[in-house]
């Protein structure tokens, strides 16, 4: 513990000194700074903001999605796009009836819940941008996409690295990025139909086949031997 304190004392001032008392809800010093600058630039385009483990999560209006990236890059100096991803908040449909013994998937929520900074609906875009020069300098951006209009502005002209991330979100969730140079399949075969990371995408194998853990059960090591021993014991008792 003493070593840790010493190390902290020697580190340059720019490295975060302290993690906030409750990192889940409190912003780190840099994150609060970043949020203040974003608020000054974006104004009421910010729908909501919250803290997640010291970092700031900013939910912006959909029409400000591209502008938010521009501000992050130009004003905040976040020169690196970590990733863009989609979120589908719909609860996963139950894969098996209750009490069937199918334990292949963990218990799913029954109602739609949302993560940090909330959401208006089922689909969200989610991105993290950060600085390669300044330590602990990152912003998490979110925006809601209405179910009937899954369009958002592309970030490719701001962050060139957004290209593949947007292609992935396009094929996995069906989000359309306006201004993207070529939205085509990245991971999936080009004739693939559907958007497999949507929660309502049917897993066809489950439609035609029960979970192998139910129908193809092998005894655990020791179980079979125990059964044999028990049988042997019974046999021995009878013969005696």
């Amino acid at each position: 513990m003493a070593d840790a304190v010493e190390t902290t004392a020697e580190t340059p001032a720019e490295i975060p000194a302290e993690v906030p008392a409750d990192p889940k809800t409190e912003l780190r010093e840099q994150a609060a700074d970043a949020l203040a600058r974003l608020q000054a630039e974006l104004g009421d385009a910010i729908v909501e903001h919250a803290a997640a483990y010291g970092d700031v999560v900013v939910r912006v209006r959909r029409d400000a999605w591209r502008r938010a990236a521009q501000v992050c890059k130009d004003t905040l100096g976040c020169d690196y796009l970590s990733f863009i991803a989609g979120i589908d908040w719909m609860p996963t449909p139950a894969v098996a009836e209750e009490g069937s013994g199918d334990t292949s998937t963990p218990a799913q929520p029954k109602e739609q819940t949302y993560g940090v900074a909330g959401s208006d609906g089922r689909y969200q875009l989610f991105a993290v941008v950060m600085s390669t020069r300044r330590k602990s300098w990152r912003v998490i951006l979110k925006t809601d996409l209405p179910d009937d209009d899954l369009h958002a502005d592309s970030w490719v002209s701001i962050y060139a690295g957004a290209d593949w991330h947007e292609r992935e979100a396009w094929e996995m969730y069906g989000f359309v990025f306006d201004g993207h140079p070529s939205l085509r399949h990245l991971y999936l075969p080009s004739e693939f139909e559907g958007h497999p990371l949507r929660k309502d995408y049917p897993l066809l194998a489950r439609e035609v086949k029960p979970w192998p853990g139910l129908v193809d059960v092998e005894p655990m090591p020791g179980e079979a031997a125990d059964a044999d021993d028990a049988a042997a014991a019974v046999d021995g008792g009878e013969s005696a």
């Binding site: 991971y187 075969p189 559907g194 497999p196 995408y201 897993l203 066809l204 194998a205 192998p212």
Partner: protein
């Protein structure tokens, strides 16, 4: 070849041919996932060293290979490439499917992207179960395949005779 394909090769000649095929299996590696690590241990590790059994794992192209080992998760996107390279291999050729994913899809049995078993694309001679199988299991698969090659009538393949696949373990 005419003699062999007509099935009229004398027994000692068949024995000699099988013997030489058995101990010079050129193996096309198809490492797709974590099973490839175990395969690598069996191939290159000094503890297992499958080359002592005459398996040479470095053919320059599938056209020089006798054996293909599918070790790992076969996806629908990879499947056409596997079929294509398998078709480039000259007969007689053998396939070892290594690990649960290649055998039947394994833990990805309900996935949208995984082929549920490489035997849907190419005929498999030896299944090595496990997730992943230990190098010993893989080597046992090789030995069982060599035993089958030794007892094989080289003309069988031309006559279209197919045998039941071997399952290790």
């Amino acid at each position: 070849m005419g003699l062999v394909s007509s099935g009229k090769a004398p027994k000692p000649l068949q024995h000699l041919l099988n013997y030489s095929r058995k101990y010079s299996l050129w193996m096309l590696q198809w490492g797709l996932a974590c099973c490839a690590i175990e395969m690598g241990a069996a191939l290159a590790g000094p503890r297992y060293d499958v080359m002592r059994l005459g398996v040479i794992p470095f053919p320059a192209s599938p056209r020089q290979a006798d054996l293909i080992v599918i070790s790992g998760t076969v996806t629908d996107k990879m499947a056409p490439a596997i079929k294509r390279l398998y078709e480039q291999m000259p007969d007689p050729k053998y396939v070892i499917s290594m690990g649960s994913c290649a055998n039947c899809g394994g833990p990805y049995w309900d996935s949208y992207s995984v082929t549920k078993g490489v035997d849907q694309i190419i005929p498999v001679d030896v299944y090595v179960p496990g997730c992943p199988p230990r190098p010993e299991a893989f080597i046992q698969g090789i030995v069982l395949l060599q035993q089958r090659i030794m007892s094989e009538d080289p003309a069988e393949r031309w006559r279209g005779v197919t045998r039941e696949p071997i399952v290790v373990g």
